[in-house]
Amino acid sequence: MKILYFAWLRTRVGTAEETLTLPSNITEVGAMLSWLQGQSPKHESALADLSVVRVAVNQEYARAGDPVSDQDEVALFPPVTGG
């Protein structure tokens, strides 16, 4: 699974992009986030407050109950501030 990080999430995780193998028993966005928190102390700290983390799966906004698989492109980012 390709995971992209933007804005302060990129800074705090320490990378813009990484490829991880999603365990096959994880099928929803919420469970994926819990799994990601356990990847490293940096992940845990960056993802400590999920109320300020937005998730996109294949470039569409996704919620905790939405499906996700190892083939997907996932992006994590803070609430957007364009315009």
Binding site: A7, V80, G83
Partner: protein, 150 residues
């Protein structure tokens, strides 16, 4: 039409481009967003905009589709800049053209309100103390929510 670019744009030229050769347009509305030199008490010396290439274009195209469904539009243009900008620089342009002013004005407000809460752009401000990521504002979400879209 959607354009993401680092270079500046000329609002007048863009509007001319929309109206050139046509006589069915009755009204054109536009919004130009620019970089302020302060945010409350904090002076801002520069700002860097980053985005999520691919998703940005998809989100903006979806917003344009929604605007065209809700209002009778003859044309629609969204330009958003990325990269480092300084106070006074233009950031974003929204132009809508219609036979009548209400459709142009309302759809233009809708597009900028929704762009601010949906399109994956992030601003990092530079000030005398260093730099910081801009936080999303509740007022922006309220402004978007008045258009009742999920």
């Amino acid at each position: 039409m959607i354009r993401i670019q680092t270079e500046d744009f000329d609002p007048g030229q863009e509007i001319d481009g929309i109206t050139r050769g046509r006589t069915d347009i009755g009204g054109i509305a536009s919004f130009v967003g620019t970089v302020r030199d302060s945010d409350g008490d904090d002076g801002i010396t520069a700002m860097t905009l980053e985005h999520y290439p691919g998703m940005t274009e998809k989100q903006l195209a979806a917003l344009e589709d929604e605007a065209r469904k809700r209002w009778s539009l003859l044309d629609c243009l969204i330009i958003h800049r990325v990269g480092r900008l300084v106070p006074g620089d233009r950031i974003v342009l929204v132009v809508t053209a219609s036979s009548h002013r209400a459709d142009a004005l309302e759809s233009c407000a809708f597009l900028i309100d929704w762009l601010k809460t949906k399109a994956p752009f992030w601003k990092k401000e530079e000030n005398a103390d260093g730099e910081r990521w801009v936080e999303a504002r509740a007022e922006d979400t309220d402004a978007a929510n008045r258009w009742e879209i999920s």
